[in-house]
C-alpha cells in the first residue's frame, strides 16, 4: 500500500494550500462568527471550490463529478482543516451526496449529484437525535405508511450540520424495529421547505453550522425514499465510515496547523532573555506532539487508501476508519490542550487562534463517534 502522496496528490495539496491561504485566513472564520452570519460559510468560496472540482471529487463522472477517490478528497480536506474552513464538505460531499450516490434512485442522482458537483446544492444528513450519543442506530423519529401509501415522518433531529441552509435534508426515520435496531431504518429526501419541517439554527462552541430539524407529520411518497424502506443502515454504515475518514483528514490538517503555530510561538516568544523554545521541557513536549502527529498521518493516509481499494472489505474499511478516528480524536485534543498551555496566557484569549483549534478539537472528537466508541468498535471488528 502506498503511504506517501502520489505526484498528483502532492500537486493538489500545493494548490489547495494556496487556495485556503489566500481565500480563507482564520479572520474569515472569526468574521462569520462575530457577524452571526446567516449562512455561516461562504457560498462564493464554495462555488470556487466547485470550479476546482473539489465538491464533485467523489461524484461519478456521469453526474459531472471527477470520479476520484477518498485519497484525493482527503488532501483537500486536510487543507480545509488547516484553515478551519466551515464549508459544507462533511454534510454535503461526504455524507449526503454519497448516500444518494450509493442508495439513491436514478432520478435522485440526476436531481442532486451534478448540482452538488457544481457547488449549487447543499444537502444535510438529519440523523443524530438528542441523547443518541454515538449510537448509529439510535433513531426515534418514526416513519409510518398510511393507508394512502404515503409516509408520515415525525421526530426531532439535533446538531444537523448545515441543516439551516440545505436545499434538501436526508432524514433517517424508523419504520420498524426497536430504538437501537439497525434494521427498520429508512432514509428520506425531504425538502427543507416542506410542510411540517421546521429548522432552527443552533450554536456550537466551534461555530460550525448546525441546526435542529423538527418533522411533524411530514408527508412523503415512495419517491422520497433513498434505498429500500427499512434498509438504510446498509447504506449508512459505509458512508459514515468514509465520512469518518474524511473528517479525520480534516482534523489532521487542523491539528498540524495548531502544532505548527505552537512551534512558531516557541521560537518567537521570549522569557528570561531567550526564546521559550530553548527550554528542554517544552522541547520534549513539542517532540512528543510531533510523534503523535506522525502516527496520526500514517493512519489517515492508510485509511484513505483502504477506502479507495476495491478489494478491501467493508469491515476492513470500518476498522481503518475507527483506527483513524480514535487516534485523531485523542491527538487533536492533546495538540490543542498543549498548544494553549504552551502559548500561555495569550492562548486563553479569544484574540489568539489556538483557542479556535481547541474548540474545534472538542467538537470533532465528538462527531461521528468519540475515541472510546471507535476503540470498542475496532476491537469488535478485529474479534476480541
Amino acid at each position: 500500500m502506498q503511504l506517501i502522496r502520489s505526484e498528483t496528490e502532492a500537486m493538489l495539496a500545493t494548490s489547495a494550500r494556496k487556495f485556503f491561504t489566500v481565500n480563507s485566513p482564520l479572520e474569515r472564520v472569526r468574521a462569520l462568527r462575530d457577524a452571526r452570519d446567516e449562512t455561516g460559510f461562504s457560498r462564493e468560496l464554495w462555488a470556487q471550490m466547485a470550479e476546482l472540482g473539489w465538491t464533485g471529487m467523489l461524484v461519478p463522472e456521469e453526474h459531472e463529478g471527477m470520479g476520484m477517490g477518498m485519497s484525493e478528497l482527503c488532501v483537500v480536506l486536510e487543507e480545509a482543516g488547516r484553515a478551519l474552513a466551515p464549508e459544507p464538505f462533511l454534510s454535503t460531499v461526504l455524507l449526503s451526496a454519497q448516500l444518494i450516490a450509493r442508495a439513491g434512485t436514478d432520478e435522485q442522482k440526476d436531481r442532486w449529484l451534478a448540482s452538488v458537483a457544481r457547488g449549487e446544492a447543499t444537502l444535510a444528513l438529519a440523523h443524530h437525535e438528542r441523547g443518541a450519543r454515538h449510537a448509529r442506530a439510535r433513531v426515534e423519529t418514526t416513519a409510518a405508511r398510511g393507508e394512502d401509501g404515503r409516509w408520515r415522518v415525525s421526530g426531532r433531529k439535533a446538531q444537523v450540520e448545515d441543516g439551516h441552509v440545505a436545499d434538501a435534508l436526508l432524514v433517517t426515520a424508523r419504520s420498524a424495529g426497536a430504538v437501537d435496531d439497525p434494521g427498520g431504518l429508512c432514509l428520506f429526501l425531504v425538502d427543507r421547505e416542506a410542510p411540517g419541517v421546521s429548522v432552527t439554527r443552533q450554536r456550537r462552541v466551534d461555530e460550525r453550522n448546525i441546526a435542529i430539524v423538527e418533522l411533524r407529520d411530514v408527508e412523503l411518497g415512495d419517491d422520497a425514499l433513498v434505498g429500500p424502506a427499512g434498509a438504510a443502515a446498509s447504506a449508512l454504515e459505509p458512508v459514515l465510515d468514509r465520512a469518518t475518514i474524511g473528517l479525520c483528514a480534516e482534523m489532521l490538517g487542523s491539528m498540524t496547523r495548531a502544532f505548527e503555530d505552537t512551534v512558531a510561538y516557541l521560537k518567537e516568544r521570549k522569557q528570561f532573555g531567550v526564546p521559550i523554545g530553548t527550554f528542554q521541557a517544552l522541547k520534549h513536549r513539542a517532540a512528543r506532539l510531533f510523534m503523535g502527529l506522525t502516527l496520526a498521518r500514517s493512519v489517515v493516509m492508510a485509511a484513505a487508501r483502504a477506502a479507495d481499494d476495491d478489494d478491501a472489505s467493508a469491515e476492513h474499511v470500518a476498522a481503518m476508519a475507527s483506527l483513524c478516528k480514535a487516534r485523531c480524536s485523542d491527538c487533536f485534543l492533546h495538540v490543542a490542550n498543549e498548544g494553549v498551555q504552551l502559548f500561555g496566557g495569550v492562548g486563553m484569549t479569544d484574540e489568539y487562534d489556538i483557542g479556535l483549534f481547541l474548540k474545534r478539537a472538542r467538537v470533532a472528537e465528538q462527531t461521528l463517534g468519540d475515541a472510546a466508541w471507535h476503540r470498542d468498535r475496532w476491537a469488535r471488528l478485529i474479534g476480541f
Partner: protein
C-alpha cells in the same frame, strides 16, 4: 467541657442568630467563591452585605488577624471552629478576595504599623477590593523582567507602563503593584512593591475576552498614574522579596479555591453519567466511564487529604506556606481540568453547545467551564513554573 467546646456552642448560637436565612444553602451560588466586597459592591444583595457587616464587626472575616487591625484575634483552633460552624449552617464565607488572601497576610508580615492601620481594617470590613498588578505582556513566567516604571517626582511616584492578566481589575478599588524603580539594577533588584488607588485619571482598564466567553482578566494601562511613597511595602527596590512571599500565599489560596471547586466532583460526574448514560442507580454500566470517574474521584480525595495535610504542616511550621504549595497549585488545577474534561465527555454531543436552543442551561455551562479550566494551569504561575520551583526549591536540583 473544654474552652473550645464552649466556644463552639457560643459560636453556633451566635451564627444561628446572625446568619441571614436567605443565604443558607447558597454556599457557592453567587459570584466566584463568594462575596468580594469593595466600593463597587454597593448594589450587592442586601443579605450578602448584611452577612459581611455582622461578621466583620467581630473580625470574623479574618478571624486569626490581630484585633488591633479589626481582625478576630482568634487562635487557629478557634478560627477552625468558626469555619466549621459556618459550613454547618451552609453559609457562604462572608468575604473572599485578594485582600484577605494575599495583600492582607503580606501587610501583616511586611507592613509598617501605619500601613497596617491604614489598610487592614478596610480589608477586614470588605470596604476595599484589591487587585494584583504583577504580569506584563513581556513578563509572564519571567515576572522579574517587568518594565512598568515608577519615578519619584515631587513627593509622589509617577507610574507608566502596562499590566496584564489583572484579575477583576475592572471591579477593584486598589492595586498592589510591582513597579521598576531602578532600571539600572539587576532585574530582581530594581523592583518595588507599592499600593495605590485605581480610581484615578492615569489608569485605563480593559477586560480581555477569553475563549470561554468570559473576561475575568484585564489589561491595565498606567499613564502618569500616581502613588504615595508611604504605600511602598518593605523597602524601595526590595519589592521582589515581598512579591515572592505573596506568591506563596497565592498558590496556597489557589489550592484552597480548587478544593472548593473540586469537592463534589464525584457527585457531579456520577450524576452526569447517570443522566447521559441512562443508569439511574447501581454501578454505572459502562466500565470505562466508571473507571474514568473513579480515577478523578480518587484523585479528588487524595488532593483534599493533601491540602489538609499541607495546612497542618504549615501550621506546625509557623504559618507560612513553603514551596510545596506549588504541588497543591499544580495538582489542584490539573484535577479541575480532568474533572471538566470528563464532564464534557460524559454529556457527549450535548456538551458542545455555546448558546441555546437545543442545549439546557446546565449543558451550556459544560463546555465553557471546560474551556475556562484550561487557563487554570497558566494563571497564578504556569505549571511549568511550579515544576521549576519544586525542582529547585524542594528537590534542590541545580540550575
Amino acid at each position: 467541657m473544654t474552652d473550645l467546646e464552649t466556644f463552639r456552642l457560643q459560636t453556633r448560637a451566635w451564627l444561628e442568630d446572625h446568619a441571614p436565612a436567605s443565604l443558607r444553602d447558597a454556599a457557592e451560588s453567587r459570584g466566584p467563591g463568594g462575596f468580594w466586597g469593595g466600593r463597587r459592591a454597593k448594589d450587592a444583595p442586601a443579605d450578602e452585605r448584611r452577612w459581611l457587616e455582622v461578621m466583620a464587626e467581630r473580625g470574623w472575616t479574618a478571624p486569626t488577624w490581630p484585633k488591633a487591625y479589626g481582625g478576630g484575634g482568634l487562635s487557629a483552633a478557634e478560627a477552625r471552629v468558626v469555619d466549621e460552624e459556618r459550613r454547618r449552617l451552609q453559609m457562604p464565607p462572608p468575604l473572599v478576595g485578594f485582600g484577605l488572601k494575599m495583600i492582607g497576610p503580606t501587610l501583616l508580615r511586611f507592613g509598617t504599623e501605619a500601613q497596617k492601620q491604614e489598610h487592614i481594617p478596610k480589608i477586614v470590613r470588605g470596604e476595599i477590593r484589591w487587585c494584583q498588578g504583577y504580569s506584563e505582556p513581556g513578563s509572564g513566567s519571567d515576572l522579574a523582567s517587568l518594565q512598568t516604571r515608577a519615578v519619584l517626582e515631587e513627593g509622589e511616584y509617577v507610574i507608566n507602563g502596562q499590566k496584564v492578566w489583572t484579575s477583576y481589575a475592572d471591579q477593584s478599588d486598589w492595586i498592589f503593584c510591582l513597579v521598576r524603580t531602578d532600571p539600572a539594577a539587576k532585574k530582581q533588584a530594581g523592583i518595588t512593591f507599592i499600593l495605590f488607588d485605581m480610581d484615578q485619571p492615569g489608569i485605563t482598564v480593559r477586560p480581555i475576552p477569553l475563549i470561554s466567553g468570559a473576561s475575568p482578566f484585564c489589561e491595565v494601562f498606567f499613564e502618569n498614574a500616581r502613588a504615595r511613597p508611604e504605600n511602598v511595602i518593605h523597602e524601595v527596590n526590595a519589592g521582589w522579596t515581598v512579591a515572592k512571599a505573596l506568591l506563596q500565599h497565592e498558590r496556597a489560596w489557589i489550592g484552597e479555591l480548587f478544593a472548593g471547586s473540586v469537592a463534589g466532583a464525584r457527585e457531579e460526574l456520577v450524576g452526569l453519567a447517570r443522566e447521559y448514560l441512562g443508569a439511574p442507580e447501581g454501578p454505572i454500566p459502562d466500565a470505562l466511564t466508571r473507571d474514568a470517574i473513579t480515577r478523578v474521584a480518587m484523585e479528588e480525595d487524595a488532593f483534599l487529604l493533601t491540602l489538609e495535610r499541607a495546612a497542618q504542616l504549615t501550621r506546625a511550621a509557623g504559618g507560612r506556606p513553603g514551596p510545596e504549595s506549588s504541588v497543591l497549585k499544580t495538582a489542584g488545577t490539573e484535577l479541575n481540568q480532568e474533572r471538566c474534561a470528563l464532564a464534557v465527555q460524559l454529556a457527549g454531543p450535548q456538551a458542545l453547545g455555546w448558546e441555546g436552543p437545543g442545549f439546557t442551561d446546565r449543558e451550556l455551562t459544560l463546555a465553557r467551564t471546560w474551556l475556562r479550566s484550561r487557563g487554570n494551569t497558566i494563571e497564578g504561575g504556569t505549571t511549568e513554573i511550579q515544576l521549576n520551583i519544586i525542582a529547585k526549591h524542594v528537590l534542590g536540583l541545580p540550575d
